[in-house]
Every structure is written in C-alpha cells, then in structure tokens.
C-alpha cells in the first residue's frame, strides 16, 4: 500500500494523475470504515488533510466557494449560520461531534450517498461542484450532472473535488430530517428548503428518497406562485399541498431503515413544516 500525504493541491493532483485508481482520504469517516472492515484494500491512498487549498472558503461575487476540506464543525458555525443557514443546519445534524470534527463536505459530495445530509441543501442551492485534475485543470459540474446514482458521481479517477460553489441567497432556509433516534442518526428522509426573497422562488432538495438527491420542480412552481411574497404567507392548505407535491416527487425504496411508503410520506411532512417555518 502506498500512501501519499499531499501537502499541496498540485501534489495531490500529480499523485492522482500518476495513479487514477488511488483512493482519496479526507476526514476518513466513510473511508476508514471500509478499510477497517476490509471492504476496500486500496493499493494506494492520497491523503488530503494537509492540502491547504482545500481548506477554508471565500466569496466570489454573489457566490460562496466552500473548500472540499471544510469540516461539519466549521460549517455549523458562523458565518455560515447567517450566510447559508440551511447548510449549517444540515451540518449540525451529521453524526456526532466526533464525526463532525473529522468529516468534510468534500467527502459527503464525493461519496454521493443519497442519505448525505449536505446534499439536499446543495441541490436546493443549485450548487456547482468544482473538480480539478492535472490533465484538464478545473471543471465545473452542476449538481444534476454530478450525482449519477447511489454512491456514483461524475468525478473521474484523476480528479479531485476541490470546492463547491453555492449562491448567497437572500431569504430563509431550513433543513429537516427524520430518523429513528435523537442523536447519531442517518436520515430516513430529509428536506432542504431555500427561499429566495428577491427572485420570489422556493427551491427544495430531497435526501434519502431516491438514488440521488432530488429536486421537486412541481412543488417549487406551486410554492412560487402560491406564496404571497408581500406578506410572506401562503393560503390555508397551501403548505399541505406543497408537501403533497414534494411527496409525489420522491422515488424512495424499502430497506432495513424504513419503507418506501414511510419515506414518501415523511419527506412531504418535512417539506410542509420547512415551508411553514420559513413563512412564520
């Protein structure tokens, strides 16, 4: 087993160019489980923790650029609570303090699990994933071209996820998830809701109810046109109908954590509540 401890972006990209089958190790919260259980015996590993270019964040005009190496502990605090509150809320629901201290948003994106908690927020924000390789330099891929299936993404073996770009949106955001217990809980259904008070739009991202994180276009269109944006209210029954449209957009499955019927129902409930909170 070869392990390369990259200390710069170029080192990491060179290592990947040399061996595109190399596995990347960021916080290790997904990766090390697989190594410990010998599901994966990678021949070579490139570790990313010491790549400074992946850490931190910056503003690019109206866009927030979040480095792939940012941890949940960083994301759940200021300034993100103000700037992307939905993402901060999602980060706060991940695992435990131990997991949040280690796990990164880049790892959540690259793993591409349908239950990944940041993903519904990212899709609701129309995030763009930034990839980079030694051969082709930077490549920006919109979320809907990036997530291809359960734990399948458009990332090539020689590419690194370097950052994710999300717009700074003026308006309220919510992330709600349902799980079976009160801490350390993997989402059985999750909803991110982003209100754009300037554009008068609502966008929802859904987690754990499909092979990839989903949007609910019909529900969004309904909300855009039904909300009274002057008073920030919705007519009676509007939130419920919004929830029903979100349920209809889901395509969940049965597994040992829950049933498809439950997930479909719960995602609608979360959506309705998220909307009600944003309008309260």
């Amino acid at each position: 087993m070869t392990v390369v401890t990259a200390t710069s972006l170029d080192e990491a990209l060179d290592a990947l160019a040399g061996d595109p089958s190399a596995q990347l190790l960021a916080g290790g919260t997904d990766f090390m489980v697989e190594v410990s259980f010998a599901h994966r015996r990678p021949a070579s590993i490139v570790t990313l923790r010491r790549v400074d270019e992946l850490k931190g964040w910056w503003r690019d005009g109206d866009t927030l650029v979040l480095g792939a190496g940012m941890t949940y502990t960083e994301l759940q605090a200021e300034p993100f609570l103000d700037v992307v509150p939905g993402l901060a809320q999602a980060a706060r629901t991940v695992g435990s303090p131990q997991i949040r201290n280690a796990g990164t948003i880049g790892g959540n994106i690259a793993t591409g699990s349908p239950a990944g908690d940041t993903l519904p927020v990212l899709v609701a924000l129309d995030a763009v994933i930034v990839l980079q390789s030694a051969a082709d330099g930077e490549r920006r891929v919109p979320w809907n071209e990036f997530f291809l299936g359960p734990k399948r993404t458009a990332r090539r073996g020689d590419e690194l996820v370097t950052a994710v770009r999300v717009p700074v949106v003026h308006g309220r955001q919510e992330y709600l998830k349902v799980g079976t217990r009160n801490a350390m809980v993997i989402s059985v259904a999750g909803v991110a809701l982003v209100m754009d008070d300037d554009a008068h739009t609502v966008r929802v991202g859904l987690g754990s109810v499909g092979p990839v994180p989903l949007r609910a276009p019909a529900a969004e269109a309904f909300a855009d046109s039904t909300i009274d944006w002057a008073t920030m209210t919705i007519p009676d029954g509007g939130a419920a109908q919004f929830g029903a449209l979100v349920s209809a957009a889901a395509s969940p499955i049965d597994d040992q954590r829950s049933t498809a019927a439950y997930r479909r129902h719960a995602v609608g409930v979360c959506a309705r509540r998220a909307l009600q909170r944003c309008l309260s």
């Binding site: 392990v3 190790l25 590993i45 439950y262």
Partner: protein, 924 residues
Amino acid sequence: MSNDVADGAAAVDGAVLRTVLVNGIAASFEAPPATVLTEVLREELGLTGTKVGCSAGDCGACTVMIDRAAVCACMVPVGRLAGTSITTVEGLTGDELGERLQASFLRHAAAQCGFCTPGVLMAARALLGTNRQPTRQQVMDGLGGVLCRCTGYQAIIAAVLDVDAADPVTVRPTSGKAVGASIERVDGRVKVAGTDVFGDDDAPDDALVIHVIRSPFARAAFTFCDLESFVSENDGITAVLTARDVPGVNRFGVIAPLADQPVFAEHETRFAGEAVAAVVVLPGFDFSSIEFPVVWAALNPLTSPALALHPAAELVHTDRPANVLVEGFVQTGDVDAVMPSCAAVASAEFDSPFVEHAYIEPEAGWAEVIDGLVVIHVTTQSAYMDRASMAEILGVAEHRVRIVPTAVGGGFGGKLDLSVQPFLALAALRTGQPVRITYSRAESMASTTKRHPSKLSVSIGADSNGRVTAMSFEGVFDTGAYASWGPTVANRVPIHASGPYFIPNYRAHSTAVHTNGPPSGAFRGFGVPQAAIAQETLFDELAGRLGIDRLEFRILNALTAGQRTVTGHVLEGGVGIRDCLEALRGPWADALTRAQSLNRANDRRHRSGIGVAGIWYGCGNTSLSNPSTIKVGVRSDGSVVLHQGAIDIGQGSNTVISQIVADAIGIEVHRVLLRSADTSITPDAGKTSASRQTYVSGMAAYLAGVSLRAKLLAMLDASFDSEFVFDAGVLRCHSDGVARSVDLRRLPVDADGFVVVAVESYDPPTTALDHNGQGTPYAVFGYGAQLIELSVDTATGRVQLHRVVAAYDVGKAINPQLVVGQIEGGIAQGIGLALLEEYLPGRTNNLHDYLIPTIGDVPPIETIIVETHDPVGPYGAKGVGEHSLIPTAPAILNAIHHACGIRIRSVPATPTKVLAAILKRGAA
C-alpha cells in the same frame, strides 16, 4: 511532494518510525500510515484506556482529543498525526478539569461497567474545553456520539453538569452502617482512570492471534480443502483448528443435559455466524486478505418458528422432534369456565424480534498454559460454569482449567454462554504459546446469543368490579439454532406472565422452537419483558373498557402478602407491588394533568400521553438449586480480605457484597480488601444472572460475615454484640469492662494467608413445580412499576419520551445509588426494546444499522425506592437488575395509545410502524 518519512509521506507498505505527541510526551512507534490510532495507542504505546467497541465511528468508546477536539481514534490513520497533539484518558491525570470530571463521575456513579467511560470522559473534556458551563441540552449534544449500554446516561449528564461541585461529599459510613449507604463503587477509580483491565487489555505482546472462520449462511454444508498446505504455505499462520481438534466433547451449553452447541460445526452449520474453524496467526500478521480454504453449499434455512413447526419441516436437531426444545406450563383454577362469564375480555396477538445485548465491549480474552493448567483470562458472567464446560471440551478435570474473569464491559446475559473461551484454550494447548482473540463488532453480533423473538396470543378477563379473574397465555419463542437458555425462558415466562397481580384462573403455555436463527439465550428478563408487553397492554384495554383509571385498576388487582401466586405459592411477606403503584399516584395525577394541558395547547399533530406498567420478577434460578459461597478472612496484620466470586459486570456486586460483609462482621466497609472472581481463588458464587447476586451471594456474604464475627469474638471470649478493633496485628475488644486481645501474628496462616476465616454458602429455598407448574419457584420476588410521559408526532410517527418515574421495591437498598443506576440502565434498554431495536441476522451486524438508545433518547428519570422488607433476603434486600427493564416497553406502548389511540403490538414501535397505525386508524 513531501517525502518526509517522519510525517508519513510516501511510504510503501512499510512501517515507518513516527513520533507523535501523546498526553504531552513525544512517543515513537513504527506503523504503516493507514494503521488506525486505536491500534497504535493500545498495542504500540500500551495506552489501553482508549477502548474499541466497533471500529466504525458508531460507539465513541475510542474517543480521544486531537488538538483539543474530540475524534474517534478508530477512524484516524496515523499518517495524519504529524504535528498534532493527542490526549487520551490517561492524559486526564494531572489535568485539573480532567481530574474534576473523574471525581464527579465517581460521585455520581456515572461509570458502571466502565467500558464506555474513557470515551465519555474524553467527549466531556472536549466539550468543557469549549464550553465551560454547558446546559443539560449542550451536554447531551456534546456526548451524543458515545454509546453507553449500562447507565441510561442520567448519571453521566449529572456528573458533567456537576463538575464544579463546591464541596463534594464523600460517603464514608462508620462500622455497621455500610448497608443503605451510597458508597463509591469499590472498583470505580480504575474505571474512571481508564486502567481497569478488560478482555482485550492485557494479553502478552507475543500472544498469537486467533481468527475464527464463520458460516456466511444461516444453514450450509461445508468441506475444507487442504488445510495442511494452507498452514505450511502461509508464513504467518501457525495452526488451524477444526472440530477434529477438540479433544473432549465438541458440545457445550449452559444447561448440561441439553448441551448441543459445537465449538466448531461438524458437517453443517445451523446459523449465520457459526464457527467452523479457527486460524492461529503470528502477532501483527494481516489475516484480512487471506482466503480460507472452505467450500460452502448453502442449504434451505428455517427462518421462523412458523416454518419450523410445520409438520413437514426438517429438524434442526434430529433428536428434537417437531423442532421443539422445551415447553413450559402453569395452570390454576379453570380459565375455560370463567373466561366466558367475564364482564370484559381483552385478547390480542403480539410479536417481538431478536434483540442484541450490544454491550460496548466485544468478547475478548487471552490464554496460556502453565504447567498443564489452562489459564483463560476472559470477559464473562459465569466463571465456574465456563470452567465446567471447558473441562468437558478439553476432556480434562476441572482443576486443570482456571478462569480469570477480566473486568466485564457489560453483559446483560450475553456473556453467560461460552464465546471465545474454547478457541483460546484449544489454541493455547495446540501451540503451547499465549494466544489472544477479540471479536469484531460484526462477529460479536453475529455469533452470540440474542433475546428470544416471541409470538404471543393472550386473553385476559375481568369482572364488572374490575377484578381480573382469568388469563390465558400461549407463547412461541424462537430459540434459534441451539438450546442456550431457551429452557429457562420457556419456564420463567408462564410463571411471570400474570404480572404482579392476583389471577385465580390462569393457564400459560410456552414453547421454545428451534430455527436457523442465532441462538437465543439470556437477556435481562429471560422472556418476561416480552410477556409483560402483552399482559400490561391488555390490562390497559380492560381498564378502558371497564371505565376504571389505569393505575387504580392495577392497584385493585395487585398481589398482596398472603395471596397465592399463579403457581400456588403463598407469599408470606415482602410483596411491594401495591406500595410501588401507590407511590406513583401523585406523579400519575400530575402527568395526566400535564398531558391534558399539552394536548390543549399543542397543534393536533403532537399528542401527549402517559402510560404505566407494573412487574414482578423472581430472583435466582427457577426451582433449581443455585448456591453461592463466599469466603472472608483475617490476615495476620489484621486486614480483612473478601473472596467474592460474584462477577461484577458493572451492576456493582463488588461493592454491594463488600457492604453486606462489612456490616455482618461489624467493621468499616473501606477496611474490606477485595479479591474478585477467579476460579483458583474465590469460591463459586454462581453466575451473574437472574438478579441473584445481591440476594443469593449477598446472603452467603451475610452468613460468612456473621460467622467470621462469631469466630473473632469467640477467640476474645466476648459476647456476640461486643465491639472489636484491629490494632495492626492485634485484635482487641472491651467487653464487660475487661480489655481482651488476641495477637493475630502468632496464629497459624492458611494457604490464602488467613489466620481466621469463614466460608458460608446459601441456596434459595425453592421447590420443584408439578405438572401444572404449581410450587415455589423462587424464594424472593422483586417488584416495580414505571410511569412514562411521552408525545407522538402524528405526522411522522416519531415518539419523544419526556419523563419516566420508576418506583421499585428492592426490599432494602444496600447501596441506593447503585440501585438507581440499575433502574436507569434497565429503562434505557427497555426504551430500545420498545422503540428502536430489531436484530436481523446477517443484516444488522453493526451499530449503525442496529440502533441502541443514545444519550438523546433517554429522558430524565425519577426513581422512587420502596423498601418493603423481604423476610428472606440479606437485610431484607431483593434483586433489581432485570426488574428495571421489564415495565418500560409496555408503559411506552400504553402511553402511545393514550396519546393517539393506536395499539402497537409488535415492537419496536418505529416511526414507520407508528405512522402506519395512525394512518390506518385515520382511514378507518
């Protein structure tokens, strides 16, 4: 590219020398970069305080601080450590805040078995580092990533909140006053220091490592290929063991006549996870990429009792017709005559799944052979039973085997059966070298016993005054592939299924059925928790139909002294169920008002409800002899040493037995020096199960203490109520105004180093049950009742618990703080049974698919200790270990019904099930 070897840059498959800062000291070791930190801390640096419970981030037992932030050391590759500073539990010593935390944990008895404790302490220390005065909620958030299976978390929360206690009190009772005092656990300090020695903590460095090969199929035939060349062609492999290598009988079982479980399967495996072979390898050898030469042929398994009971079903054991292991039966009065005339009858069917003990410490141990004596250091609940089984398996006399129990990181019944012991002994004998084994979490979950899945069909009838007059109970228990404790469950359930109530006409029948599931064994309550769910929820239905308050209905029917139980046993005294239920009257009225006002205030989506359930539970084995022997002696220097073989699995027997013996002798408890269980030192105090240690071993300790006192005073020629002191090596007393003394240093010393010694045994007075189950199955019962307040989110089916009030009759609380700890821990497991836990063989062999309660899932618990003196137990005491778990699930189900009108009869009541029931009710 950085090629700096010291910080673990490019390194090919090699162990490189690294230096990291651990607890402020630079520590050097060699390891490949993907090695996890837990491995390095424990194996290279000898810092075994950091525990491993899952290797997957799920349990938090491995929590350490890296640069002051809590992380799971099991997920940290050492390659990333350069330039960081690591703090482990060992590093709390000398850290002012760390030591305060440890002291607070001791004061609050926040460590029971102590296996989670290092992780909890480190998570708490990290939290306090950023938030010096956290709120209760912040403590719960900060500690959400560490699982504790013993405490129910309340003592942990209290300990963290109380870290700055101004003037902490130490309880130090004077002589004769230990019983009833909440003294600190006698084994507490090592637990908070992280220095207690568990199964995986002290194997010699050169010990060979055992890997067990297990069946991936519920039922399979198998053949080995060439095992000899497998060994000779792999350099790191020392030996392979299979059924052929078992010198004695390849069978074990906790109930000797029914012993049926092979150490290694012989032709066919009967459950997924059953062992077929063991491979012994050199320390450090990477076995994970080795392909073991076995060919499997999957066979059709029997996956449920319904399939197994089908007349055409194949037999799991050819000598057990119809796949029935045993049946249990209790009958009194005439149910069939009375039931039809009842004013109200409630009937229903219930079911429950396999439930996993999920102690945080996986099975582990090590063994060596010294002069022909096989010495096995192992995490176990039953040293003497282990020794007897091992002697059979090895084909040697019992004195050739010594079991040295390590500290036990939780057991709950799951460490009563053999696990690693046979592999250790066989490998040590074969290789002549020390050997070790530690189960992975997956292996532990797949191969050890479970709570019996149940299918119950129950009817209960009452007259118009609300008196229960008839009950019938039919229960089928999935006992899995092997007998284990199946007979105990089948026998205990019919006796207990009435609950702690007077029911004159009663018939209960149970059947333990073999399937190709994991062996079902002992798990806190031996089947009674499942039965209580049926009886206590049907009691609610009856009360509802008769228009009687649910608590008053129970009080009306509660057993009282002088009444006959369903086995015809007339309890002379110590029947505390009515006292427990009456103690809940005040909290019940308050809770009812609270629920009603919440339901008025809340949106209709969140409904509040309350529920209650009562229990009784017989302490000790059912109608069988189960003696305990305790030895206590005085050495020539006047020190008093207790040889106490009641294994402390966290419940506190080391402490409680010390308290009892101290008062019986008449000395201060902190003068008692303890030798814990070891088959070469301590006499047999039976197994730690059936809530028997405080009662049975406690009685033996009491008798031994009294006997020692009598001997000492006889030597002084003083009367029994005289006071005496040890003045270094001289025993002195003033009696009748005369000063008397005996110089202990002049007395002959026995093999244990004693100059005076007392050994006493106690066996509960029980009788066999007749063909109708009539007789005296237990000498002592304990009683309890729980009240639960909760709310149901009717849109998601999520149940939130708000508060538990538990009233328990323990006869006499020898150590009230430990009693509270047992109750809180039992309630947490009851919550798991009610809401979360379902073990699916082959699918939930980890702690992220098999969910146990976290700190966020256990609400505040208020305990009311009721002391209805027992005429039999030591100082009037009864057991409480299992009693604590039993009422929680039915009380929760009753509260769910009260909240939103649905009856869940299949646990766990997951959001999925609760919501489905709510939607169904709405549609109806």
